[in-house]
Amino acid sequence: MGFFSKFRKKSPWILHYNTGGCNGCDIEILATLAPKYDIERFGALNRGNPKQADILLVTGPVTKNCRDVLRRLYLEMPEPKVVVAMGACGHGGGVFRHLYNVENGVDNIIPVDVWIPGCAPNPRALIDGIVEAIKIWEKKSKDKEYMKNHSKEMIKNLGVNDD
């Protein structure tokens, strides 16, 4: 574990993106940031910048219009990174499965580490998921099981051209 990783694990920053669910899950994220549930106890802050984020919190079934934005956000985050899919519709589409403009779940686009079930998940479940994500993040950073740079093939697989 590098010098900075020690501190990063104490304060994982969250990047939140809604890919087309109802905003129920996003409301619960806001509620979790607020005093009653207070996810800041774990050092987690919601920051809108992918370049500084450690955890990507995705809600929604991934619509075709959002797909490329989601891929770009994922690629722009520094390694090691953890993806958390929140809500039933992130898991294979939920009630929106097989609609014509939907990609049926987050893991069809990017690899997912933690699943949070429920529609909408309770804030307690969300906290549980984030804590789990921090553990996975720690493990990833210890094992160095990530690519330093994305290889050309991976970028091609993810289907993003740099601009």
């Binding site: 075709k64 219009n65 014509y100 403009n101």
Partner: protein, 119 residues
């Protein structure tokens, strides 16, 4: 069964803009939306309005038997907020509407006219 307070004006595609223009008064009526219904190969279009003062009252300008390749006139000159519904009509039924562009909701070229029954 239709709500008793809905008044329906049957009209034709050529006359509808003229009719709405003569009737519409933005101080009294409230434009709601434009709605298309696929009635088996033919499109039915409703221009829907509500009343600010009278309870439950709604007005509908209805044009039936519109084929999918005719040009549908735009009312955005009379009602400036109508453009969104017109753009959506174009996306959802793949019909031509005056002064509109494709792609407000559907950006994938493989998806064509989802609300049409024959597609």
């Amino acid at each position: 069964m239709i709500n008793p307070n809905v008044e329906i004006f049957e009209t034709t595609l050529e006359k509808v803009v003229e009719d709405i223009k003569n009737w519409y008064d933005y101080k009294k009526y409230h434009y709601v939306t434009i709605n298309g219904v696929d009635e088996g190969g033919k499109l039915r279009i409703d221009w829907i309005f509500a009343d600010y003062n009278e309870k439950n009252k709604m007005y509908v300008f209805r044009v039936t038997d519109v084929s999918f390749d005719t040009l549908i006139p735009s009312i955005a000159n009379i009602i400036p907020s109508a453009w969104m519904a017109e753009w959506e009509l174009r996306d959802m039924f793949d019909v031509e509407v005056e002064n509109t562009q494709k792609g407000i909701f559907i950006k994938d070229p493989n998806i064509v006219a989802p609300l049409r029954k024959d597609k």
